[in-house]
Symmetry: C2
Subunit: 252 residues, 2 copies
DNA sequence: TAAATAGTGTCTGTGAGACAGTATTGG
DNA sequence: CCAATACTGTCTCACAGACACTATTTA
């Protein structure tokens, strides 16, 4: 926020009237998104195959330049891009980091603000399948793909944020559609955490945090074994912060 | 990272040759710093009084535009600015958040990447006093000051980050000069956390984490009461992450 | 000696991990 | 009945909070 003009005796109004951003060399500024969901019991991330230069044909995170005519905030840009790609209007969105350098994009000095989003994938929603250029890629595959620019590093940073926050928040609630069973919720936590959890500890933790509300059993649900109770999250349950970290298996 | 040119049959080299960032309206991009230290037993933050438009004469966070001729990364920009203001070369620097909107700067759509830095203030170092336009402001005062742009909100976000990380890391090690006593270290934690800590719990936690190394007593240190043992942090001790949160006083 | 500061012993409380046990469904 | 899944009882362990106690210094 320091200035670039010499300190003359002009007024602030004069200064602003003369100010022209095209006089300066500015970095390119984009927003990129790591959109995660749980599908077929796997963590999946939404990737796009770039159809224009640079890095044409390569897989990349969805995103785009900030449109200063249209966007009212960086988060608005992120939510707009996410809506375009997934149709989801009220996702969980969290800013992960911002990176910038002269090297990361061949067009010049560029900055990108990385957001992570979590959405629940409902098989009945057709919007996600309908997207032409975006595809859900299982995490194991996405890790192998050579992504455009520095997107592999960005994706890894988002994955790490997701994993670490799963250990002390209730974030995984965002990748499930209600109603769900406690076993399903535990599997969601385990998948995002990439570690097994002890059943009793998990249930006790959820119980004592009071994040869930019981929902009447659905006679539709079939399945082997004893039917499970169904729950939905209370409002803002996904934002809950625990005071201890999960998944620290006892060492011998 | 999506493109703005129609997808013609040109090569990537052609595309890049024709690409001119001055064809686009780009946001202004700056880096701002919330630099904290512990001085006279108080948390203090480094602020500058702006000597040019806009917001001339108002207090603000130190920072400045990204210089795409000079800077090799955003963090490099932050470290350069910090070095200019404080003379400290190897500080603790952490990215806090990035915010952008058309409203936050009268010059137009602007983005700022906010960093938090922690430095140990040594009374013998003269560099900090030597800075003309920057001043250490006690946190209580800084909170009252009407800062330029959205810097009050930025400062608050950095303060919250500092507070929350103090509860589960050893960050406060960065605001002390070694050697220090355990009592001094506890006071640093308490100040950054803004909550009292229980002496035995604190010492046990430090002891068990093995973050500190004993240092020979300094005959210089006078003072009332029993002389305290002196310690210095082991390397990377400030990055230690605890698995439980401090300062959750028991409720009745 | 007292005052001041440093440092310890030890009890309690919370909540996670381990793991065996019981409950309820369908075939 | 058995297999499969859901759910519970209960022990142990790690570690924070509370707080009284001892230790070592100067005045």
């Amino acid at each position: 926020m320091t200035d670039r003009t010499p300190d003359t005796q002009q007024s602030e109004a004069d200064y602003l009237a003369q100010y022209n951003i095209h006089d300066y060399d500015l970095p390119l500024t984009s927003v990129d998104l790591a959109i995660f969901t749980l599908l077929h019991g796997e963590l999946q991330v939404l990737l796009v195959e770039r159809d224009s230069f640079p890095a044409r044909g390569q897989w990349a995170l969805p995103g785009g330049f900030v449109d200063i005519q249209q966007d009212l905030s960086l988060e608005a840009t992120a939510i707009r891009k996410l809506q375009e790609k997934t149709g989801v209007a009220t996702p969980y969105v969290e800013q992960v980091l911002t990176t910038g350098s002269p090297e990361r994009d061949p067009r010049g000095w560029s900055i990108t603000v990385l957001y992570m989003a979590l959405i629940a994938h409902a098989p009945t929603q057709s919007h996600v399948q309908g997207i032409r250029d975006a595809r859900w890629i299982p995490w194991a595959e996405a890790q192998q793909l050579p992504l455009a620019f520095d997107h592999s590093a960005l994706l890894m940073a988002a994955r790490e944020r997701l994993q670490s926050k799963t250990a002390y928040t209730a974030l995984p609630l965002h990748v499930l559609n209600a109603p769900f069973t406690l076993s399903e919720l535990q599997r969601a936590f385990e998948t995002l955490l990439d570690a097994p959890l002890e059943k009793k500890s998990f249930r006790r933790r959820m119980e004592e945090a009071g994040l869930l509300e019981a929902v009447d059993a659905d006679p539709q649900r079939s399945g082997k074994g004893r039917p499970a109770a169904l729950f939905k999250p209370k409002t803002a349950a996904g934002d809950f912060v625990f005071s201890r970290i999960l998944g620290q298996t006892r060492e011998g």
